[in-house]
């Protein structure tokens, strides 16, 4: 066969482990058929696996019993607390929030493996308003200043849904800025999924997310936040394949280039930005952030834990309109 793809021994191993994208696996499977060397290679991998499998360990003792206790408290589920009458409305509100899954663990997938997000159902303003009115509110710990609608957003700049929602909400916020200047305020706070700066992250991580948060802060001070975020967005998938130290180095190099800061000044600026980042992380921990993005609109948490996505631009628009009316009634 002259058109068989080259298959490295490492890729062959990944193939045997079922860790190769479907299209490529088809190619490799066909290649293996015609390649005795590859089949031998696969057999040898299997032989190693079979040897390792011989090692069994003893059974745990009967004294190993489950620890006592409940989940510290039921997961915060504001929608679950609303009355039965509004349950149907709650379902509607849950559905309109759902655009895509929030924060996914770092993963590199073939584009073909990504299913298109289902189109959100049309928004019924009455039902939405009813459900919205019954949501619990928390204090997000940010002063609204002179605004009537305060939106606090916890973000990770190496999280795909964060970028998508940030970009898709901008036109909505811009429209309000023109219509009602100063009345709608967006405060972006950092929640990087990276244990290098965030002690509340366990297990799943975005290597480099702490550095990404810091350089976006620097860029914001220098009016270059959009360019910085754009670069992070475009390079996110690639950065997630690097070792954390390499990802951090790359992000810093790009930030220095974009912001035109020398390395000494840059290190000082990064160190200075750290206090603000730490404060955001502690604020996020106090608010039980478990996914990004998480928005608080005048204290209403969106999305709640069991809702499978952030709000759509349409529902953001509806929520802001409701909150502006509510503030006007109170004024």
């Amino acid at each position: 066969m002259t058109d068989t793809p080259h298959v490295s021994a490492e890729e062959l191993m990944a193939f045997a482990d079922g860790e190769v994208a479907a299209a490529r696996a088809g190619e490799i499977g066909a290649h293996v058929q015609a390649c005795p060397g590859c089949r031998r290679e696969l057999d040898e991998h299997a032989a190693v696996g079979a040897r390792l499998a011989v090692w069994k360990v003893d059974a745990p003792p009967a004294t190993l019993t489950p620890p006592a206790g409940q989940a510290a408290r039921p997961a915060p589920a504001p929608l679950a607390r609303i009355g039965a009458v509004a349950a149907a409305a709650a379902l509607v509100i849950a559905a309109v929030w759902a655009v895509r899954r929030p924060h996914e663990p770092p993963r590199v997938e073939a584009p073909s493996a990504t299913a298109p997000a289902p189109a959100p159902p049309a928004l019924d303003p009455g039902t939405f308003a009813l459900a919205w009115a019954q949501q619990p509110r928390v204090d997000p710990g940010v002063s609204p200043g002179g605004s009537r609608v305060l939106i606090v957003a916890f973000m990770d700049w190496l999280c795909h849904p964060c970028h998508v929602s940030y970009q898709s909400y901008r036109p909505v916020l811009k429209r309000y800025e023109q219509r009602a200047p100063g009345q709608v305020k967006l405060v972006v706070r950092d929640w990087p999924w990276d244990s290098r700066c965030n002690p509340h992250v366990h297990g799943l991580e975005h290597p480099g997310a702490c550095t990404a948060a810091l350089v976006v802060r620097l860029a914001r001070d220098r009016d270059k936040a959009d360019e910085m975020m754009q670069w992070l967005f475009e390079n996110m998938s690639r950065l997630q394949t690097l070792d954390p130290a390499d990802a951090e180095r790359e992000i810093q190099a790009e930030a220095r280039r974009l912001l035109g800061i020398g390395s000494v000044d840059f290190d000082a600026a990064i160190a200075a930005a750290r206090a603000g980042l730490d404060a955001d992380i502690e604020a996020g921990a106090a608010l039980d952030i478990t996914q990004t993005p998480t928005f608080f609109i005048n204290g209403v948490r969106v999305p709640s834990e069991h809702v499978n996505g952030p709000l759509t631009p349409e529902s953001l628009d509806a929520a802001i309109a409701i909150e502006l009316k509510r503030a006007a009634r109170r004024a």
């Binding site: 408290r73 039921p74 834990e305």
Partner: protein
């Protein structure tokens, strides 16, 4: 049968029975995780207990950002890391070479000893990836999440580990001195 993630969600909503089902499902695998990494039986029992206490306490914050299984072994990985740090301070040792003596028929016994020696000769990072894959049956992305490294790193470490074992198996490197 409910999936692990469904059980965890039920537990978050206050269903204690769901937690007990998860415990039954994973008590032996978590126990085996510690035993294969050289933890003595009484200590393995304590550490397994610690893992489930951590799950219990973190349930409020838990979000299904990956399989529950990889989350659980991520907790076990950190619990073991903390235990090893504490042991080093007191001069003790836990490693794959200190793993329990195998029981069973003679031929298997020899193979197990071979496996233990072969694993012990591996680089520590390579060995952990290989063990997560072979014994905890984690996917590459799950092992990456447990260890906090990129998937490509998991793949390359795994490849290195398996090639070293193959060389050993082929008898080209019987003493494990060459890498």
């Amino acid at each position: 049968m409910q999936t692990d993630d469904e059980l965890m969600a039920a537990f978050q909503a206050g269903d204690r029975q769901a937690f007990e089902t998860l415990f039954e499902r994973f008590r032996a695998p978590v126990w085996a995780y510690f035993r294969r990494r050289g933890v003595q039986a009484d200590r393995a029992e304590e550490l397994t207990h610690d893992v489930f206490v951590a799950v219990l306490q973190a349930a409020r914050r838990y979000e299904a950002r990956g399989a529950f299984r990889s989350y659980l072994f991520g907790v076990a990985f950190r619990v073991l890391g903390a235990a090893r740090r504490a042991t080093r301070q007191t001069g003790g040792e836990t490693s794959v070479t200190a793993a329990p003596e195998p029981a069973g028929p003679g031929a298997d016994r020899e193979t197990v000893l071979w496996v233990r020696q072969a694993l012990a000769a591996l680089d520590e990072d390579d060995r952990e990836v290989l063990m997560l894959r072979e014994y905890e049956q984690l996917r590459y992305d799950e092992a990456a999440a447990v260890l906090g490294v990129p998937i490509n790193t998991v793949r390359s470490r795994l490849f290195r580990a398996r090639m070293a074992l193959r060389r050993r198996l082929e008898g080209q490197n019987p003493e494990g001195g060459e890498r």
